[in-house]
Amino acid sequence: MEDKVIEVNFGPQHPSTHGVLRIKVKLDGEIIVDAQPVIGYLHRNAEKLAEMGAYPKGMIYIDRLDYVAALNMELGYVLAVENLMDAQVPERAQWIRMLMVELNREASHLIWLGTHGLDMGMLTPFFYCFRERERILRIFDEITGSRLLYNYFAIGGVYSDVTPKAIEMIKEWTDDFVTKLEEIQSLLGKSYIYVSRTRGVGKLTADDVLSYGVTGPMQRASGIKRDVRKNSPYLFYDKVNFDIPSRTEGDVYARFLVRIEEMRQSASIVKQVLEKLPQGEFYNKKYSKPMLVRLKTTGESYVPTESPKGEFAIHLIGDGSSIPYRVRIRSPSFANLSSIPTMLKGYKIADLTASVSSMDPVFGEVDR
């Protein structure tokens, strides 16, 4: 009975991998002694595809990176392109963008919360979360015309204005979302089973977080209070009030609390944006559609944004032609996921799904 270490394959086709993650786990009894993630099953090389067409054409591939938060992805691309072209964006368009990305952050966190509950063996939160997410998707449908992949942000603004009906829908949603959120939080947070399965599990220390380049809610749950929206504000994030939630425990439960609090803050941002939304143009007429494919630019740009998973940005290099020379995607999930070996080592096999789902990986973005 000396050499008891066995190797178990986890995934890639498994519901709790949130996509197509495969982990090669070495087990000593129930204890994980080594875990090596294997990725690449959803690889499409979005970077190469985006380097093959005109600047606005890259948007549809960027949309499909983090498909549950497509607007946050679009924002990273559109900001980089506009920065490179010195494009002027009307004020109203920028506020609309802020409104949309915050709503999309809520949708993304809700889908995470629901599936995280599912991974922990609880089916009820899933329905509660998806009910709320459905309302957000209906708002998106009203404004953009699509429910999941929008192609809504355009160079120089947004493609369509926010309708009065949509404003009514958002107001209705913000009015009772916080109470609904409390309901959902109590479903998980007050469950003895959930708390005891997540507290002290999947720990990452602040040093690990920095060393792996982990960003977003995972970083804030480990005691590093950083948020791109506060540290280097883009759009009008310096004109709204919100807090950065942070915890010091660095375990799964801390990540749960951080994300819940982030949703509350996002709801408050949405409320403030509705109050401050100015009248005016939603689109810079200089960048009308037939013009877009002929836009030429040169130089280099990297505009960091805070996506639901962490720091998302595009490193864009233009060579003076109408096709981008290099589109490099900084994907937060990729860096977050690389911390798996440290995060799982020493814990039990039953904690694996809890830890992995607490990272909120989305494989469109990891594999690109």
Binding site: G213, T215, A335
Partner: protein, 151 residues
Amino acid sequence: MIPIEAETTTKNGIKVVYVSKENILPFLTEKKGEGFDTLLMITGVDYKDHLEVLYHLLSSGNNARLIVKTKTNEEVDSVTSLWKGADWHERETWDLVGVKFKNHPNLKRILLAEGWIGHPLRKDYPMDKKQFVNLSDDGEDRVSYDKTEGY
């Protein structure tokens, strides 16, 4: 002080410095000591006559950003000894751009199948040629241009 070869900024004001490839490891060690504790990403760009490797650094303490670039033809020193996160980023750069990292503990392809022919983000990569991957039982992937030998 390690000498820098040139200095520019990106359009939104992030500092970019060029360092010779022999000095990249000492330079990044020095920068890490100065508070640049996070490595956001490593990537490569193919400029046809040479390759460039980019390191995005972030100081979480004083919120400073720095992009370090180095020109190379094939090979550059690995920085996995400084940041654990460099492991995957270097593997990806090797996989897609084809930059070799010296002293990397496990320099294998990460996104594409092992044995893939060429590096897709090179400008001379043949886009019209399809490759077919055969996942065999022994865990070793075989890649070929022949349609009958894979998917």
